[in-house]
């Protein structure tokens, strides 16, 4: 099981800014280890964000995204107390979803 994400969501005016840190190796498949063998690709492919259970963002990611990626976006109409859920699936089929409350 992957390490948990850190999700912060803060409401300001008619929108909420969501900041997400994901713990992931994001291995490109281009690098070689000390023995000269290619390190297999391992990266997040699909990211979805939900606001009170309704999908508001989907993204397709690739190996160009950094290790331990940071994602920031805003949700229109989100208020304090709303639930924001983030989920990712990587190319090995591992997945992780976490939830936070807008403050």
């Amino acid at each position: 099981m992957a390490d948990p994400m850190r999700i912060r969501a803060q409401a300001a005016g008619d929108k909420a800014t969501v900041r997400v840190l994901m713990a992931h190796e994001m291995e490109t498949g281009q690098r070689k280890d000390a023995a000269g063998k290619v390190i297999p690709a391992w990266y997040i492919q699909q990211v979805t964000a939900q606001h009170n259970g309704k999908t508001v963002l989907t993204a397709q990611w690739g190996p160009a995204v950094s290790k331990n990626p940071f994602l920031q976006f805003s949700i229109k109409g989100a208020k304090a107390g709303d639930k924001v859920g983030i989920a990712w699936v990587d190319n090995r089929g591992d997945q992780r979803s976490d939830e936070a409350t807008v403050s």
Binding site: R6, R19, L21, N68
Partner: protein
């Protein structure tokens, strides 16, 4: 043709000067500001907190009774007073060597074995995460290393000597890079470590997450890399020498605000 070349050469220098409306240091500061919001060190903090409380090791114990200098289990504020003298081990210890002691006495790990593990593997990953969380618990506090015990003062003197000791194929010392203010290597500012270099600079900025390799570096790893850069032999994890350098820098940084775990290039 020659005239044209001169024009181009002039433009290159002049246009370059125009684009440099802000200094390199400003540019770096701006870059850091942009990254600040999403410092992945937070991920390590969360992991470290979990590891502190988790029952682990041959004895299946947590580290919650570990004494970091402020009494068993007291974490907040401990980081800004380390390295310090510990009566039970009769040694001056920094955060990492103290954690090794706790992992050995409480959890039953072999401290020597962990110290020999290369960085970024096995239990070294545990130490990185623990260092990230423990330092974060003292974020915003000011460094105030004790110098009351004779061993602490001796460690400071040893660190001072090591800092100015020139050796190796490049005839280098720590002081070669960190003995003057306003120096940098490429884009990295070099803090002057013989005095307090300021809040969140130098000793007060480690442990840190390094964006370039996506790793969490503790002070021990930072110092080991300084030794590598000087072409010195590997000083050994949690060795007396690295701890002494920590005491020297830490005492000099008295009053500096800790921003650890920070974010580095």
């Amino acid at each position: 043709m020659k005239a044209l070349l001169i024009v181009i050469a002039l433009c290159v220098s002049a246009c370059g000067a125009l684009a440099q409306g802000k200094s390199t240091a400003d540019g770096i500061a701006e870059y850091r500001k942009m990254l600040e919001d999403g410092n992945p060190a937070e991920l390590f903090e969360a992991k470290g907190e979990g590891l502190w409380k988790q029952k682990r090791g041959p004895r299946n114990m947590s580290l919650e009774q570990c004494d970091l200098g402020k009494g068993p289990g007291q974490v907040r504020g401990a980081f800004v007073e380390l390295p310090r003298y510990f009566a039970d081990t009769r040694k001056v210890q920094d955060l990492e060597s103290r954690l090794l002691t706790c992992m050995e006495t409480l959890q039953g790990f072999d401290a020597g074995e962990i110290a020999k593990t290369p960085f970024g593997r096995g239990e070294q990953l545990t130490l990185e995460a623990l260092a990230a969380w423990i330092s974060a618990e003292s974020r915003g506090q000011r460094f105030n290393l004790p110098q009351g015990h004779a061993q602490e003062r001796m460690s400071y003197e040893l660190g001072k000597r090591a800092f100015f000791y020139r050796a190796g194929p490049h005839d280098f010392a720590c002081a070669s890079c960190h003995g003057e203010a306003g120096k940098r290597i490429r884009l990295q500012d070099l803090p002057k470590l013989t005095v307090n270099p300021g809040d969140g600079v130098g000793f007060a900025a480690w442990p840190a997450y390094r964006v370039s390799n996506g790793e969490m570096w503790s002070m021990q790893r930072r110092l080991n890399d300084c030794f590598r850069q000087q072409r010195f032999p590997y000083p050994g994890y949690a060795s007396d020498l690295t701890i002494a350098l920590g005491v020297y820098m830490g005492v000099n940084a008295k009053g500096a605000e800790s921003i650890a775990p920070a974010l580095k290039r």
